[in-house]
């Protein structure tokens, strides 16, 4: 009965530690998934820049280039966004103004001389301007939210080099279709003939209505030399985003708005981090508890069998033989406890994890990507059917300060599973527990003197 009791207590302790380990793994996995989904980029835009609704002064490219010197920054993608009204381009926007566009009336006018943003006077019509993004990072020009998010994929033709100064462009598939553009076609912008070298698709009507051109070309044609309207700082790890965010903010000072989803993500993940901490301490505590249980049990067993040990020594049993017998017993207890505890631990891990997450204040469904609003303001680009935020990020307006993470994570929907590492942990924990219990038993056995035991007869 005593042996059964020891095994049961050990099994409970090991089950608790296994369930805590599984909970910890599940929470860690969830945290990593959420962090990874929020991306490792930081968006930089002019302070107060509100897209083409006004505000802000373009950033200096030289200041943005200097961000590369910040630790953990792997790349800085710069872009200069312009909107081409019908007076500046031969292109026609594929996006109809729609009800919202007509209602708000910003976005340019085909009847105005400069395409202002102050709204339309009664009776005028307007068309949506064509968005041009000058980029030094073709292939990633849309990353980071400021430029619409997502990744452009070439469906035909080629791209241009990051340092190109040629009058070339790759155009979104929707825009190309509307304007019947193919690779080799030309269109005019700022009075210059631009050659289409590629067609891209980003699976979004919004971004597929854009034009991508070399940054230097746009700076030259738009008379914006040395200026950028947006930059995306790429960090080597999601774990370093917060630190780089601070460094970028410090370096650029008051001239820029620096945004990342990291802060919101960290806040949303706080309950999970709390669960992770609790499960870690409980895990350590239960392993130590199991070791102490076995230690005390073995002490009790050795004490109760003190006479037997004395007799064995009197019969000529070496210490190592007797110690080996007790190690065998404690190992058997531990293995039985580990096997039972492992099974029970796996079974109870899911409800325990859920209970811990609920108790720590985790919401049942949290949008961790969030709708992060920093300095700036809200705004919609008009369109017949509104907008469709692309996966991975969305900026409602070019150069604006909206970041729709597009990452909706249900924090409590954790997937618990027992991995090989969990099983390995159970084995290691069992070995540690058995070793602790056995060592103490061995020490006690060594000190037993057979003469004292027999003298007490």
């Amino acid at each position: 009965m005593r042996a059964v009791g020891v095994v049961v207590i050990l099994a409970v302790a090991i089950a608790l530690s296994i369930s805590m380990l599984i909970a910890r793994d599940a929470v860690t996995s969830k945290i990593n998934t959420v962090k990874a989904s929020t991306g490792n980029t930081i968006t930089v835009s002019p302070k107060g820049f509100f897209g083409f609704n006004g505000g802000g002064t373009p950033l200096k490219a030289s200041a943005i280039d200097a961000l590369l010197s910040i630790k953990d920054v792997t790349a800085v993608q710069e872009s200069l966004s312009e909107e081409l009204t019908s007076s500046k381009t031969s292109l026609t926007s594929p996006t109809p103004a729609g009800q919202l566009g007509s209602q708000f009336g910003f976005g340019g006018s085909n009847n105005s001389s400069g395409g202002g943003f102050g709204g339309l006077s009664s009776g005028t019509t307007f068309t949506i301007p064509v968005r041009v993004i000058g980029t030094n990072s073709p292939g990633n020009a849309l990353v980071g939210g400021a430029n619409g998010g997502g990744t452009e994929k070439l469906t035909s033709g080629t791209s241009f080099s990051p340092t190109s100064t040629s009058d070339v462009a790759i155009v979104g598939s929707t825009l190309a279709s509307t304007n019947k553009l193919t690779v080799g076609s030309t269109f005019t912008a700022w009075g210059t003939k631009i050659t289409v070298v590629g067609i891209f698709n980003a699976s979004s009507t919004f971004t597929d209505s854009s034009v991508l051109m070399p940054l230097a070309t746009v700076q030259k044609l738009a008379d914006s030399s040395g200026e950028v309207t947006s930059a995306t700082v790429v960090v080597n790890s999601v774990n370093n985003v917060a630190a780089v965010d601070k460094a970028v903010t410090k370096k650029l000072g008051s001239v820029a708005d620096v945004t990342s989803t990291q802060a919101t993500t960290e806040a949303a993940l706080a309950p999970l981090n709390s669960v992770k901490t609790i499960s870690t301490y409980t895990l350590i505590g239960s392993v130590i508890g199991a070791a102490i249980i076995l230690l005390l049990s073995m002490l009790m067993i050795v004490r109760e069998r003190r006479r037997e040990v004395g007799v064995l020594k009197a019969l000529g049993a070496p210490n190592k033989t007797i110690i080996g017998q007790f190690i065998s017993e404690s190992t058997t207890f531990t293995i039985l406890g580990a096997v039972v505890g492992l099974v029970v631990g796996i079974l109870i891990s899911s409800p325990i994890t859920s209970a811990l997450v609920s108790a720590s204040g985790g919401s049942t469904s949290t949008n961790t990507g969030g709708f992060v609003r920093r300095t700036g303001g809200a705004g919609f680009t008009g369109g017949g059917s509104g907008f469709t935020p692309p996966t991975g990020g969305f900026a409602a307006r070019t150069g604006g300060n909206f970041h729709f993470g597009g990452v909706t994570n249900t924090l409590t929907q954790l997937h618990t599973s027992a991995s090989w590492s969990t099983l390995a942990f159970a084995l290691i924990a069992a070995v540690v527990i058995a070793a602790v219990g056995s060592t103490v038993a061995a020490g006690t056995i060594t000190r037993i003197r057979p003469a004292e035991v027999l003298r007490s007869e």
């Binding site: 006479r307 037997e308 007799v311 064995l312 020594k313 009197a314 019969l315 000529g316 049993a317 070496p318 033989t321 003197r449 057979p450 003469a451 027999l454 003298r455 007869e457």
Partner: protein, 224 residues
């Protein structure tokens, strides 16, 4: 042949030194049964502990067949106990979770008796002490006191030791059973050619020994 000379053992206690064994010297031949009489606390159990190398003397020598034992190190003492000494205790002290045969085989294992021969040797000894074969597979709790002591005697003689130390071997048994155990000890001692030292406070038991000693306040003297 057992030869003991000038054996001393003193225990230091809070109440002062206790001279448990003082200047004890005696000899005993192979096959001889020697009785040591003494009251409780007279030092007889301490003397057995010293002879069985369970404890180290402060002074003196113990010699068995020309081998000096007092200077053995820990490993040497363990080896000596497993091969040259057999113990028979008042409370039998069989291992409770082993059956009778396994208890005997345990002594053979410690003495590094050939593994293949242990079963046969254990059965032979159990038969020699008169334990039914049907009881060889029983655990001690399923045996009577007399049967347990028979198993203990079989265990003590298992490795063919030169010295058997029996501490009140009949103390827990009724008179008839006790007498049988004494007869058995004598018989096996003759067969195995081992010296048997029986510590007892029972005069009747002592009288059946070849020689008798009395110990008082740690001092041993031979009595007629």
């Amino acid at each position: 042949m057992l030869k003991v000379e000038n054996l001393d053992k003193t225990f230091r206690t809070g109440a002062g030194d206790v001279h448990a064994v003082q200047n004890v010297s005696f000899e005993a031949k192979d096959g001889e049964v020697v009785a040591i009489l003494g009251a409780s606390g007279s030092g007889k159990s301490t003397l057995l502990s010293l002879l069985g190398l369970l404890d180290a003397p402060d002074r003196g020598s113990i010699d068995i067949d020309g081998t000096q034992l007092a200077n053995l190190d820990s490993a040497g003492r363990t080896k000596y106990r497993s091969s040259q000494v057999g113990f028979v205790f008042q409370q039998f002290n069989l291992i409770p979770n082993l059956n009778a045969r396994e208890n005997v085989k345990l002594a053979l294992e410690f003495a590094h008796w050939p593994k293949d021969d242990r079963d046969a040797r254990a059965n032979e000894l159990l038969s020699m002490v008169g334990l039914d074969a049907s009881k060889a597979d029983r655990r001690p709790a399923k045996l009577s006191g007399g049967e347990q002591q028979r198993v203990a005697i079989a265990r003590a003689f298992a490795a063919q030791p030169h010295l058997i130390l029996a501490d009140e071997p009949t103390g827990s048994l009724d008179k008839a059973t006790g007498q049988k155990i004494v007869d058995l000890l004598r018989e096996v001692a003759n067969t195995q050619r081992a010296t048997v030292l029986v510590v007892t406070h029972d005069e009747k038991i002592a009288k059946q020994a070849d020689r008798r000693f009395e110990i008082e306040d740690g001092t041993l003297k031979e009595i007629a």
